[in-house]
């Protein structure tokens, strides 16, 4: 019986984690001067997918989309410099840990999409919201998806709308939520 798209994504995602250890890899011991293991952050989708024991073909559009996402993540650093504007009496600063929670989730989501051959979910805007929280916001034609990552470690919340379909809920930001990929792409 053929696997559904969601099942394929989940299966391939767990295989990625097993073989490559999330988005980090370990250099082999012989490459290191004193035999230390060195963990290097993987910086591109080609590198992520080609590393490990299951080489994959990465389409050019996927590479372009990944790079656009990395550009947006880089640009989002501006939130860390936002100061109290004296408009609010309950200003909460934007922290690197909150931004990393949001961008880490975004990278995992994109990896899920590309590893299951879903290209074109688009790159969300990353921006500041209330109380030190950070938003990811997709707007593609008549569909929107807004995900909010709070400043504390509580659950992220989301709301999406497209014709004849609305979704909302909350989740642990360390998860990848493959179903959101398909909701965006469907």
């Amino acid at each position: 019986m053929p696997l559904s798209r969601l099942e394929k994504a989940l299966e391939s995602s767990s295989r990625e984690r097993r073989f490559s250890g999330a988005s980090y890899r370990v250099r082999s011991l012989k490459d290191q001067p004193f035999g230390f293991r060195r963990h290097e952050k993987i910086s591109s989708v080609e590198e992520f997918i080609s590393f490990g024991q299951v080489p994959r073909q990465v389409s050019a559009p996927a590479v372009v989309e990944w790079r656009a996402m990395e550009d947006e993540i880089k640009a989002a650093d501006f939130v860390l410099g936002i100061e109290d504007d004296s408009e609010s009496n309950d200003f909460v600063p934007y922290l690197q840990v909150t931004l990393s929670r949001a961008t880490g989730f975004l990278r995992r989501l994109m990896i899920h999409a590309h590893s299951s051959k879903v290209v074109g979910i688009g790159v969300p805007q990353i921006g500041p919201a209330d109380s030190g929280s950070i938003d990811l916001f997709w707007e593609r034609g008549d569909r929107t998806l807004l995900i909010n990552f709070p400043a504390d470690e509580s659950s992220a919340t989301y709301y999406g709308k497209k014709p004849k379909s609305e979704i909302s809920g909350r989740f642990d930001p360390s998860e990848a939520r493959a179903e959101l990929v398909f909701w965006l792409a469907d």
Binding site: D85, Q125, P128, A129, D130, F137, L146, T157, I167, S168
Partner: protein
């Protein structure tokens, strides 16, 4: 105590909403995260008693702000939001402001499953209706 009467706002009337430019992305576009409460409501000015330029200037440092125009009837269309005319007069630490209008309902404490995406829904709805600047960021100050 304000001597100004509380008035109803007609649906076609406008409200001006001030946003600090320091909270905008590099492309200076409006985002759902720009809609947020301050002291329990979203604070705006009614165009019957305020211009957009006056709203921009009200806190001082007008160059630090951009202004959105919001339409009362379109705000009322959003499930959960309501408008209230709350003129400010003779309040210690605050400048008198007959135009002051509050939008209530963005924040709402609830843990029910149905309400999980409520605030995000409202922010999305506000963004979809009001995403064009009345006074853009870094516009010259009058």
């Amino acid at each position: 105590m304000s001597s100004w009467p509380v008035e109803d706002i007609p649906d076609p009337d406008s409200l001006f909403y001030r946003i600090p430019v320091g909270q905008l992305r590099a492309d200076r576009t409006v985002a759902p995260g720009n809609f947020k409460e301050n002291k329990g409501s979203i604070s705006t000015d009614w165009d019957k008693y305020s211009s957009a330029a006056q709203t921009r200037t009200r806190q001082g440092g007008p160059e630090r702000f951009a202004v959105l125009r919001m339409i009362a009837g379109l705000i009322r269309e959003i499930d959960g939001l309501s408008l209230s005319h709350e003129p400010i007069q003779h309040v210690v630490g605050q400048t008198d402001n007959r135009a002051h209008r509050s939008i209530y309902g963005l924040e709402f404490s609830s843990s029910t499953v149905a309400d999980l995406g409520r605030k995000l829904r409202i922010r999305t709805e506000l963004y979809k209706r009001f995403n064009t600047w009345e006074i853009p960021p870094f516009a010259p100050v009058d």
